[in-house]
Symmetry: C2
Subunit: 168 residues, 2 copies
């Protein structure tokens, strides 16, 4: 990946990037809420994962990803995507509870990342090489990507998804 | 929107953000290419727009958005989403051609944006207030969002989309 800081210019601060991410996370939470309980766990299109499974991936990557950036201790992605039936998360309320715990965790951990850490090379989840900042952008982009897939599930169920611009 | 530069820390440069965006644009181009010609223009799920229409929106926002940031001359979004039959773009090859023209345009225009411009308040497309940097992130996020919807269209057509991590 390209070096995101090879120029001297500064256009995004760590605090601002966290705010941006939490805005996206507020929207993803609304998308989770929009699913009927059963459809969250049993509906998908084209052989894809359910939105519950996608939400679980997003949560795992967010929490363990930021912890990995901070501590350089990584779990492998195989451990990130447990079979859903093996996890403690069984209901929409469980997912939203876990989501909110991670919101607090991100607000606690992210500001502990030292400024110079963002440009260090990491091996995220034991397998992806790149600068820490690129990994964080990847985590956010991955969330936007899977959330958008969930909005197609919702539309196909005749449910209007929350507006993309609504990050409040 | 939050002020993305209220801290002094610098974690992303303008050149790096452009590289990041062009990486996403390379992936979106692959998604366009993955559609069969007819499905690009006539297929959707749940009453949503076709992927051709979504690609046209992405292109319009990218090109006119960056031009707006640079010049402060904005077109309204009504002009951004012409009915597809009214545009000159009729085939997949037309879309890919327009896409590639915009790739060159972005590489030309983006570096002309002065560093201090990213923190200025703009009224994007005559209606959205915020900092220029937030608007650019919005353009990129909107592309990720609609591209991901296209990947669900592809999966539902039994076509494997290009890998999300492939930005080359």
């Amino acid at each position: 990946m390209e070096n995101l800081t090879e120029q001297s210019a500064s256009i995004i601060s760590p605090a601002a990037l966290l705010d941006h991410w939490q805005g996206h996370r507020r929207l993803t939470r609304k998308v989770i809420e929009s699913f009927p309980e059963d459809k969250l766990f049993n509906y998908s299109i084209g052989g894809m994962r359910t939105f519950a499974a996608l939400a679980l991936e997003i949560m795992n990557i967010s929490a363990k990803g930021v912890n990995g950036i901070l501590t350089n201790e990584w779990v492998f992605t195989e451990e990130l995507e447990p079979l859903f039936e093996d996890s403690d998360i069984k209901t929409k309320a469980d997912i939203l509870w876990a989501w909110d715990v991670i919101t607090v965790e991100l607000n606690r951990l992210f500001p502990e990342i030292k400024e110079e850490r963002f440009q260090e090379q990491v091996k995220a989840f034991g397998q992806w090489d790149g600068e820490a900042i690129n990994m964080i952008l990847y985590f956010i982009d991955n969330e936007i990507h899977h959330r958008a897939q969930g909005t197609v599930y919702l539309r196909s169920l005749d449910i209007e998804p929350p507006a993309f611009w609504n990050r409040f």
